[in-house]
Symmetry: C3
Subunit: 330 residues, 3 copies
């Protein structure tokens, strides 16, 4: 597999096969080969978790979960990942309890204090760039970005890609449909970037006028080598899609004048009927959750609906794999 | 032991000797024989905990503690139970950090997300019926009700019954006194229900006019086969009681017009003097705690006062037993 | 080493070589010999932590971390200490979730409830004297004071002393400079008390007029046998100091009329220039953190700057040692 590695901020490094001690700040650090390394290990982690095998892979290690912004799902996934591998967590979930911050401590000092207690640091923060800042502050241990505002959330993208990889055995020559809030969904942008690491992928984009991908972004993505096709009605969904990826309207990121309720009414919602008319029998349906106006609960029983089943679990497996790799235990 | 099993909501099952994988939503799921199974194992758990033996019973398993409502005591008891058995917890203590909820996620989706990370789910919620709803949402793992509003808190009742069982070696042919807020105490209602599973029990009820058991409830309890005798003064307490069970006024459940301070003044408070006059030497004194206007601290040193000693610890032992049973590790 | 043990509140005991089961409420419980015991073990703990050796020293034990007041640093340090030794924590970090307290439960009852679940109890509280009160309430397990208001925070002082001990191999015949908020810094007062346990120590005190040590306190410290010399300008700092200890202005403890910004402007801030002019090459620079207007970040790279490196880590090692000692596992 050959491809051009994206330009990275100087402070973080391409992985290039060597995970040990690396900060994980951006999806752009991964090559296609690096992704295969993670996914191959994630498959093993899945077996380990499914059989509830006591693991000693992270024994003796402490992973700090520093969540300056609440995120119960990501928090739970990382905490479970560490614990299922026999590691220990240091859990700082609540922004207001980081008392030293309220006393005027700099972000860098806070990071270095928790660095002193831990072997790795998982950071969630509302400010874009916070993960990079933390990675630069931490001298001795790796930092994993668990979401920094609307910037990046690389492990979310890893789990989405792993879900596709597991189902289809490959990440190239796939056709997908993404729908919902294309303008604001960080998750979706990262997924497209991830898929652009591989050849021959085509993505159909379905969104109402107001929630389309900005033209500049669309152009930037296409430059990475992925084929993007905008459609404006469910009637244009091709039956050949390998996957559908639905996203809720990011209400918290709408402009002041936007009419949330109006936009909600324009949304295409996945129903059994929609699946019947436009989906192939062996596609899968993803949603990064929480789902709000995206997929009707009557779809949950459909075997193609993986959002509440394998997709969430895959997040834990991928994080187990990544932690083992950067901590040098895999 | 033969008795008629109460009617249950179709969604939860009678245990009937088979705990593995069962949701624990209601006390009515337990037969007398099931209680003996739990209590017999709880006694072993007590030995294990007293000697601080490292246990591997829950090794490799993750138990999610989802506390949508704060309850430090119950939280601590379950957390310690899991950890003393060598298991891991996933701790979501703080309602406002369940961030996906604030983004509009349904309760069912939240439950299924945490189900994906865990082997069992302990739920505390302020809404009656939430535990049943969670048990229905969770497809693959058992749910334990750790209190759902004023509906049920089955492990509290199990620990109360275990405390009696440990002391007297039986749960039938006991005479007890219950006092305080008979109208509103969920704990008390459940205790009476639990004791009605066994033959020959008699309970004296001591409460001020306003805090008496509702006549309909009294009749319903008696129909279950327990003998209830209302008294209105401490002077009527028979010396033959095996136990006293005191409860605080549930201030948060009083009607708007109720005079809390006035009701407090009417309360009979347990003092060394009261014990001396009306309690037998081998009775035990229980209180589900927190105690507010129930038992004077000068009583604490009395060996019959078990509320701050064995009663709390018994909660941990009973929860250890129950977790081991439903997780198939006992 | 001979010296007069300070008078203690009757409720807590001098350690005198026997840590097992002892409450750790005040620095005054330690003799010089006790400190050597802790520090010698802390050195071993350091090795254990540096090599991430899985430890079973606290296996089977549960340590409750009851933080009624937020303190992310101290919380993290104790949590990591327990976990690195293979123990389990019971974490109650958030004051408002101690729900029974809000229902009117007494502090003593709360302590005894958590005592029932644990093998030791680490308490942080805003009220001076709370640790002693907890130690009296807990009948069976040791309590460690992790800071009770402006009263004591003995493990902070232990880590400061350990940092000096590690560097210089001794705690006597040292010369130090303390600066910043001498009037209000609890940490500083305790450090002076700790150093007064050993012979031949001299401390220079540098503070602006308003933030000087109260004359009565200065006299009380000197009575303990330590030599204190007040200076009023950085120009008076002798080049012979073994250590500098800087403290931020305790804004939260200033009187109503105090001008914080004005006091800040009067502060001497540690810069590379100040070190160059007044510090010896083998001194070390300490700060209990958070640092706010104390040490310029450009100093961080100086090898003498130990505040963000060994000083924080030493806190974890010292707490590991203390926990192992009082739990009878060392």
């Amino acid at each position: 597999m050959q491809y051009v590695l994206p330009r990275l901020n100087d402070a973080v490094a391409h992985i290039q096969g060597d995970f040990h001690g690396k900060d994980i700040v951006s999806l752009d650090q991964f090559s296609a080969s690096d992704l295969h390394t993670v996914f191959s290990l994630a498959r093993q982690m899945k077996q380990l978790a499914l059989y509830n095998e006591p693991s000693h892979i992270l024994e003796g290690l402490v992973v700090a979960l520093l969540f300056f912004e609440p995120s119960s799902r990501t928090f739970g996934s990382f905490a479970a990942a560490v614990k299922r591998l026999g590691g220990q967590t240091l859990e700082i979930q609540n922004p207001e309890i980081v008392s030293s911050v309220s006393k005027g401590e700099s972000f860098e000092d806070t990071i270095r204090v928790f660095e002193a207690y831990s072997n790795a640091l998982v950071l969630r923060h509302s400010v874009p760039g916070a993960a990079l800042q933390a990675a630069q502050a931490a001298e001795f241990i790796p930092v994993i970005n668990a979401g920094d505002g609307n910037n990046e959330h690389p492990t979310q993208t890893l789990l989405d890609l792993f879900t596709l990889y597991e189902q289809f055995g490959r990440l190239d020559y796939l056709t997908g449909l993404v729908a919902g809030d294309l303008a604001n969904s960080r998750t979706l942008h990262s997924l497209i970037r991830g898929l652009s690491l591989f050849r021959g992928n085509t993505i159909y984009l379905l969104a109402s006028e107001r929630l389309r991908l900005a033209p500049a972004e669309l152009a930037a993505f296409e430059e990475r080598g992925i084929r993007l096709i905008e459609i404006s009605s469910e009637k244009d969904i091709p039956k050949t899609c390998n996957f559908w990826y639905w996203t809720r309207i990011q209400r918290e990121r709408l402009a002041a004048g936007d009419d949330y309720q109006g936009l909600m009414r324009e949304q295409v919602i996945v129903t059994p009927q929609l699946l019947k008319e436009y989906a192939s029998p062996d596609m899968i349906l993803l949603d990064p959750l929480p789902r709000v106006g995206t997929i009707d609960p009557s779809v949950d029983a459909d075997p193609r609906a993986v959002y509440l089943r394998s997709q969430i679990r895959n997040g834990m497996y991928v994080r187990m794999a990544l932690l083992a790799l950067i901590l040098g235990r895999a």
